[in-house]
Structure formats: C-alpha cells, structure tokens
C-alpha cells in the first residue's frame, strides 16, 4: 500500500521534469551565468556585476513562467496538466531549518579549514563547497523524484566540480582561477550536462508522446 502511495507521489514529482524542459532552461541559464562570472573576473567595468546580478534575478523570476509557457504548448496537450500544491507551512519551516542547518555546517567547515590549515586549507575547503552544495540539491531532487537523470547530474556536479576547482588551485592566482572558484567551473559542468540531458529527454518525450488528433477529454 505504502509503495503504491509513494510511487504515485514520486511520479507526480517526476512529471515536472519528464519532458526535459526545466533541464533545458536551467542548463542554459547556468552556462550563461558562468560566462558572466568569467567576464566579471576578466574586466574592471562596473557594469558587469550589475548585468550579472540582473541576469540572476531575471532568471529566477522569469524562469517559472517561461517553463510553464513551454509546457502549456508542448506537454499539457500530450500528457496532461498538473497544478502542484503550494507547500504547507510545516513543509516551508522544515525547508528553512534544513537550509539554515546546511548553511551553518558549510560555514563551520570553511572556518575549520581556515583555522586548522590556514589560507591554503581554507581555499581547498572552499573549492569543495560549491560542488557539494550543487550535488546535495540535485541529489535530493533525484531521491524525491526517483530520477536517475538527476542522480547523474549530482555525481557530475560533485566529481566534475571538485576536479575543476582543485585543478584551478594548482595555477597561480589569476582572473580565470577566481572565476572558476567563484562557481564558473561547476556551473558550466552542471549547465552543459543539464542542457544535454534536457535535449535528449525532450527528444525522447516527443517521440513517445506524439500529439494526436484525438478529441480532448
């Protein structure tokens, strides 16, 4: 009984990403933002941080509407429409507590690295934090949705992100190194993976769910 209920809940959660459209949007956004981080590190122009922050806000605010509009044209006519529940107060509180706990743990980790090992150790810890955070979020989504694809994104974020960040620590402090350590490296890896994964998923979705002339239900 509980497996029927649990799998129904997971199927509902997975439906949001079943067509690959959210992956496409988020992947593209990550790559663009990584490029802006790279640009920011290589220029003295005061406009670039403004452009970067504006892009961040626009991406977050408009993202949901863009994805919904695409789903209304592509997904809902094929496999149906779902309106997700808004989280309950208890769920929001739990999320906030978990987020604060994780944030505090990461800050403590970094402080421990700085205190025990000095600046160099602190940098190594910092190089791990970004990929760890991405992997944690993507891994949680993979678990919630029982999605292998998001599990792959989480692994790529963790391993790829850490390798790129650690490799960048081997080079002398430069604008490129700063850009990578500020997140450009892991964002590029996750962005490319999500864009490719989203494209493959959308292609498969359109092939397995062709739009028919069937009368509406």
């Amino acid at each position: 009984m509980s497996s029927v209920i649990r799998s129904a809940e997971q199927r509902v959660q997975r439906y949001w990403t079943e067509d690959g459209i959210p992956d496409l949007f988020v992947g593209l956004f990550f790559v663009i933002y990584a490029a802006l981080l790279w640009w920011d590190a290589h220029t003295d122009s005061g406009w670039v941080p403004i452009i970067r922050n504006t892009a961040l806000v626009l991406g977050i605010v408009l993202g949901h509407f863009v994805v919904q509009a695409l789903k209304a044209r592509v997904t809902y006519p094929r496999t149906g429409y779902v309106k997700y529940r808004t989280p309950t107060r208890r769920e929001i509180a739990r999320g906030l507590v978990a987020g604060l706990g994780i944030g505090a743990a990461l800050v403590l980790l970094m402080l421990a690295g700085l205190t025990v090992g000095g600046y160099a150790a602190g940098q190594i810890v910092f190089a791990f934090l970004g990929p760890l955070l991405f992997a944690g979020i993507l891994g949680a989504m993979a678990y919630q949705q029982a999605s292998g694809r998001y599990g792959v994104y989480a692994v790529l974020a963790l391993i790829g992100g850490m390798l790129v960040n650690l490799a960048s620590l081997q080079i002398a402090p430069t604008a490129a190194r700063n850009a990578i350590l500020n997140g450009a490296g892991v964002l590029t890896i996750v962005g490319v993976a999500m864009f490719a994964g989203g494209a493959w998923t959308l292609n498969r979705y359109l092939r397995t769910h062709p739009q028919t002339e069937e009368p509406p239900v």
Partner: protein, 99 residues
C-alpha cells in the same frame, strides 16, 4: 480471521484503481483528466467510472471548463477527500504495524 482485528478500511479509497487516483490527486492541487489517464494507466471508461464513485462519496470535485476553445476536465480532491485519504493511510499503517 476475527472481525475485531480488521481495520475500519475506507472501501471507496481501498480499491487499487481508486487508491492510485486518490494518491495522485493528493500530491497535487489539481490535475486534468488526460494526466490521470497517463498516470494511472486506466482506460477512459474505467477512469470515468471510478471518478464518479469518488465524486459521489464527496472525495473528488470534477470541474468541466475550457482552455481557449478546448474542453477541459479538472479534478481535485475535496478537503473531505484529503482527510479521508490521510485517515486511510494512518489506518493501514496501524494495521500493518500490528501484524
């Protein structure tokens, strides 16, 4: 099996097809008929029959509307339906824990 250990199961929800429908609707605010067809794998006739039964019990609200010029059937669990599902879930957990 003695009647005293049988839980007070809600027969409306307990049927496998209706359990799948209610579990799916419990996870969302609303869904359309086409989504439930895909999610449950039921035929149109079968799904309609089970939805009618759930509507009679007061657990599901069926709204027939339009999106542009296209007819659309929206389905959502009523507050009574959500309460009944939570009670069903608790009853079954209690039953399995006693075994």
């Amino acid at each position: 099996m003695s009647e005293s250990i049988l839980p007070d199961i809600d027969d409306v929800i307990h049927a496998p097809a209706r359990l799948a429908i209610v579990a799916t609707l419990n996870a969302v605010e609303e869904a359309d008929f086409r989504y439930l067809l895909n999610a449950t794998g039921l035929t149109k006739g079968n799904l309609s029959t089970h939805l009618s039964k759930l509507e009679e019990a007061g657990y599901v609200q069926i709204e027939k509307t339009f999106r542009g010029k296209m007819p659309l059937t929206l389905l959502r669990l009523t507050p009574q339906g959500r309460t009944a599902f939570e009670e069903y879930r608790r009853t079954m957990l209690r039953f399995f824990n006693q075994m």
